[in-house]
């Protein structure tokens, strides 16, 4: 028979009873496997020892509980899961900006192209298990490119919480999708957020970019001809969202709609600008992926999904193909689709099936 995989050998180290008899008897009689098993065991012990902490004394659960119950019941506890605030004037910080953890509405709504739907991901990673309230300011955003040139806002979104869906529509021209039947566990009235179109012009400056590179201790690669002074127009929004929350303020369901972000260039094609930015030193892989997936055409949804965090599938929502994302720990799910340049998304601490039925029931 074939030699069992290293995964089987690894389990043999810890849980021999979990390994099929056939594999166990093979290994016992196979010198190749026995050697491999030794190596697997040695690595396991080495790593186990490296991760062992000192002070084997039992933890004091009583004292810990006393501390826990004495802590003030803040409405939005934070620390370990809240990312550090993005540094100002650093594009890549701004792009990665995971501050909008929440339940995803924002994500849908975030970003001029570069960030866009990719910002869904922090939500599904379960890396931040503290939900954060969605504020109207999160609805539409432009990445802060000012480290690489001149960023001029030509339209401000004036985001705000609005009293009802009608006001949201009046403000933005977008109808807030109306939920047919609320899933079990989602109760009460939603709060509404609205933000207008945000538009900015970015003028690439080789001098500024060189400065940014120097701050990183790097030399700026020579920009392609014509890039210096070329402009991008970034546009996002408008956006509307309805959000249901538990009495504690933890969001349970978010339904959002937003004009898909677009990017347009003058002079040098956007692809050239993008490829050059991709070549800059110190650009994190995640941001690079986002840039690669960005296109001037707002009709597609760039959505590179890290398979180790999120399972992704597609489903039909009233004739349109939607992307369904589920966090592997099952805590969050979301459904998002694009139609005529408008993204609609439904996300929450619900199962994908529940969210799909919300999505299909939207009016």
């Amino acid at each position: 028979m074939r030699h069992p995989s290293e995964g089987v050998l690894r389990r043999l180290v810890d849980e021999p009873a979990g390994v099929p008899d056939a594999d166990r008897s093979h290994v016992a009689a196979c010198s190749t496997c026995l050697r491999a098993l030794d190596e697997v065991r040695a690595d396991a012990e080495l790593v186990g020892a490296a991760l062992t902490t000192s002070g084997a004394a039992a933890v004091d659960a009583d004292a810990a509980w006393a501390r826990f119950s004495a802590a003030p019941a803040a409405p939005a506890p934070t620390p370990a899961f809240r990312p550090a605030p993005a540094a100002r004037n650093r594009w890549r910080s701004a792009v990665r900006r995971p501050a909008v953890a929440a339940l995803g509405a924002t994500v849908l709504l975030t970003g001029a192209g570069v960030a866009a739907a990719n910002d869904w991901l922090p939500i599904f990673s379960a890396e931040r298990i503290d939900p954060v309230q969605v504020t109207s300011a999160d609805l539409v955003q432009i990445p802060d490119l000012s480290a690489y040139g001149d960023l001029q806002f030509t339209r401000e979104p004036d985001p705000e919480q609005v009293p009802d869906a009608a006001t949201a529509q009046e403000r933005t021209g977008l109808a807030v999708p109306e939920v047919g039947a609320l899933p079990e566990g989602v109760t009460g009235d939603p709060t509404y957020q609205a933000a207008g179109l945000v538009e900015a012009t970015f003028t690439f400056s080789a001098a500024r970019a060189a400065q940014a590179a120097a701050a990183e201790g790097e030399v700026l690669p020579p920009p392609p001809a014509g890039l210096d002074g070329s402009m991008l127009r970034l546009q996002a929004g408008p956006g509307v969202a309805a959000m249901w929350a538990q009495p504690t303020g933890v969001p349970t369901l978010v339904v959002a709609r937003v004009g898909a972000p677009t990017v347009a260039s003058s002079g040098v094609p956007f692809e050239t600008v993008r490829d050059y930015l991709l070549s800059l030193p110190g650009l994190p892989d995640g941001v690079a992926d986002q840039l690669r997936s960005l296109s001037p055409d707002a009709g597609t949804l760039p959505l590179p999904v890290p398979a180790e965090l999120v399972t992704s599938s597609t489903a039909d929502v009233d004739g349109t193909e939607a992307t369904v994302l589920t966090s592997r720990d099952g805590l969050f799910a979301g459904v998002v689709w694009v139609e005529d340049g408008v993204m609609t998304g439904v996300a929450g601490t619900l199962s994908a099936d529940e969210l799909l039925s919300v999505a299909r029931g939207l009016r």
């Binding site: 690894r10 186990g48 000192s54 084997a56 810990a64 370990a80 550090a84 379960a126 592997r328």
Partner: protein
Amino acid sequence: MAGATTPVRPDLEEVFRREYARVVGVAARVLGSRDEAEDVAQEVFLSFGRTAVPAGEAGGWLSVAAAHAALNLIRSGRRRASREEAVAAGSDAEVPDVAEAVLTREDRSRVRAALATLPRTQAVALVLRHSGLSYAEVATALDLSPGSIGTTVRRAESALRKELNRHASSE
């Protein structure tokens, strides 16, 4: 006090007392510091208190959350370095030497730093396994098939051992 506190799930204290040691254990494996692990545990339970995770799944949820939170802490670089150093220094004598490997404090820091750069699922599976969760429990907590846990953990260990060897050979 009535009305002043956030409503929490009624079984919170019971789950807290039952799972606290394990949650601290998971975070401590990642952080190498008991104090920091206890801080992480407090935050993890705070979050847990606001979820509707069924009590039966609480152990897995809390362990995964503790691993993520601790890994985030390492990766964010916002650790209290001085405390880590102090604790690590004091711990040298207590860590057993295994498989003829003598692990220095630097080795252990290196392993933890490398841990934070592994694919998240690998890192979490590894930490949970070394925290005493069974293969079946790790599989359930991470929504993976039980058959894949051995492979996932093995990959992580192999990567960490290579990291150690790389430094050993370059020194």
